[in-house]
Amino acid sequence: MAEKLYIEALAEAIKEEFERDPNVFMMGEDIGIYGGAFGVTKGMYPKYKDKLIETPISEASIVGAGVGAALVGMRPIVEIMFSDFMMDAMEWIVNQAAKLRYMTGGQLKVPLVIRSPMGSGTGAAAQHSQSLPAMFAHIPGLKVVMPATPYDVKGLFKAAVRDDNPVIFFEHKLLYWTKGEVPEGDYIVPIGKADVKREGKDITIIAGSITVIRSLEAAEKLKGEGIDVEVIDVRSLSPLDTETIVNSVIKTGKVLIVEDDNKSYGWGAEVLSRIVESDAFDYLDYPIQRLGGKDVPIPYNPKLERAAVPQVEDIIEAVKAIFGKE
């Protein structure tokens, strides 16, 4: 298998879906000759110029038009340049895309993908750095995924495009330039299936998106401390794969949940709740711990910015604390 960058794997998935289904197209700002703010569609123009619908700065209507096109049989992919800008489109995401199927008694469906970069670490400050997947996972009718690896981004993207429901697809910016194995050609990573990214017997770390990568790095370092860490990548927040999580917790008896969103009301609280409501509760031999972003807007200053979300050293420290090491 070839090693590819996350951004390359994603671009490959987009192009393959363009080729596979004439109803697939993409809408967004600066996605043509400019190649998108992060370069995801770089080089697709002019070959795919009929597939790349460039829009004015009109997030509400970009998403709204995506909903409309989806209702009548297209499979639109909407790129929102930074996921923070989805806030301008919340009406069409939350009140329209998420509910049209239900409200019409199953007559309508909205096969729409909204893909968008999220997260801090680039010095772009409070309005360009949020991780907000939990906010969307709260809404029935939406599916929410956040792939962490090049393999998963390609497979999950294809699953998202082929899904008959609105899927919010989050790409952490710092992942774009990470590498991993990616098979050639078509494959699917199912939405709603977590993945054991590293097997271990002493503790389960449950992570998503960028925190998977940080947890894996922490796990390697913790090996030296004699702690054998299992890392579960939720991959999909909605639906959430409770079974994979519960099975791991039954095995290890200890849990640390690591999320990049700020902690209060974050998705980690939902994961925690699913664990304590399950059979795994009886197997816990230590209170479930959570690490999340601080409850602050993302600051500009790089030291503050770094301190606002969990880093590798924070994960190591949290695991050690569970094992009574300082």
Binding site: I33, P56, I57, D88, G123, Q127
Partner: protein, 323 residues
């Protein structure tokens, strides 16, 4: 020219400050001293300065992601601005905001904005407050050609018109929104043409002519202050550099850029000041040198300033009682 020499030279100095501040910003970014991103205002100086020259110190502005020029023109402190870009505790936003979020309430600057069109409803609300309180202040709202295609633009201009608010919507049409050329992404030829749909005056000005900008804005501000309602002004100009830090500008030609650079607003104004005998070359040169010194001092101040403390990460999330 009916403006005093003092005012004209103030305009010249502000434009030079903006130009030099931006060139310094670019230099510092290239030296890895600026984190994150920034949007340079080089080439558009006449717009901010002409507009702010028509305002009182107590009037309000809202700004954009490309906000350094507006901020300087409204009177912010170069030292604190530079400190903000370097993420320092002494910056206008104590290092929390950075380039895209500079605000300076002491000069009536309600904030740059990371969200395109974010400032348009906010300006509308500030003007509504002035109307409710009868404080005679005017709000000037800076925004780009790209922002004019948002829903917020439509909603705000309609509200300002039905309520006859003391606000001036000042569109800097620099021909592009990132890579999107205005003529392909805007259905009307001129953004000012849209004023007709809000039943307010729409005015087009040469945004590279500081005096023309001043005149148009002054008229709009006077009307607003008298309670005669909002105006939409469109200043045609051009950004010389890329949209933000790393933009190879594949969507436009170098020839087009050169054409616009010939209309350098600072050079044009300097020539006018000289040809009309308002100032001598020595006087202008002295201003240039003064500004260079100010920029250097601002830089030194910023470099020597302390960073915010990580312990203070959660400070300013909420307003504390009595603050």
């Amino acid at each position: 020219m009916e403006l005093s020499k003092e005012k004209l030279l103030w305009m010249y100095k502000k434009m030079v400050q903006i130009r030099q501040f931006e060139l310094k910003t670019d230099e510092l970014y290239k030296k890895n001293m600026i984190w994150g991103t920034y949007h340079l205002y080089v080439g558009e100086e006449a717009a901010a300065v002409g507009a702010c020259a028509a305002l009182e110190p107590t009037d309000y502005i809202t700004s954009t992601h490309r906000g350094h020029g507006h901020t300087i023109a409204k009177g912010a402190d170069l030292k604190r601005m530079m400190a903000e870009l370097l993420g320092k505790e002494t910056g206008h936003c104590k290092g929390r905001g950075g380039s895209m979020h500079i605000a300076d309430i002491s000069t009536g600057h309600l904030g740059a904005n990371g969200i395109v069109a974010g400032g348009i409803p906010i300006a509308t609300g500030a003007a509504l407050a002035s109307k409710l309180r009868g404080d005679k202040r005017v709000t000037l709202c800076f925004f780009g050609d790209g922002a004019a295609n948002t829903g917020a633009f439509n909603e705000s201009l309609n509200m300002a018109a039905i309520w006859q608010l003391p606000v001036v919507y000042f569109c800097e049409n620099n021909q592009y929104a990132m890579s999107a050329p205005v003529n392909k992404f805007t259905a009307v030829k001129n953004i000012a043409d849209r004023a007709a749909s809000y039943n307010m005056p729409g005015v087009i000005v040469d945004g590279n002519d500081v005096l023309e900008v001043y005149k148009a804005v002054k008229e709009a501000v006077d009307r607003a202050r008298k309670g005669e309602g909002p105006t939409l002004i469109e200043a045609k100009t051009y950004r010389w550099f890329g949209h933000s830090k790393s933009d190879p500008r594949v969507y436009r030609t170098r020839e087009e850029e050169e054409e616009w650079k010939k209309k350098d607003p600072i050079k044009r104004f300097a020539e006018k000041l000289l040809s009309e005998g308002v100032a001598t070359e020595e006087e202008l040169k002295k201003i240039d040198e003064e500004v260079a010194k100010e920029i250097e001092e601002a830089y030194q101040f910023a470099v020597e300033s302390p960073e915010p403390m990580v312990e203070d990460l959660a400070k300013y999330v909420y307003a504390e009682e009595g603050e």
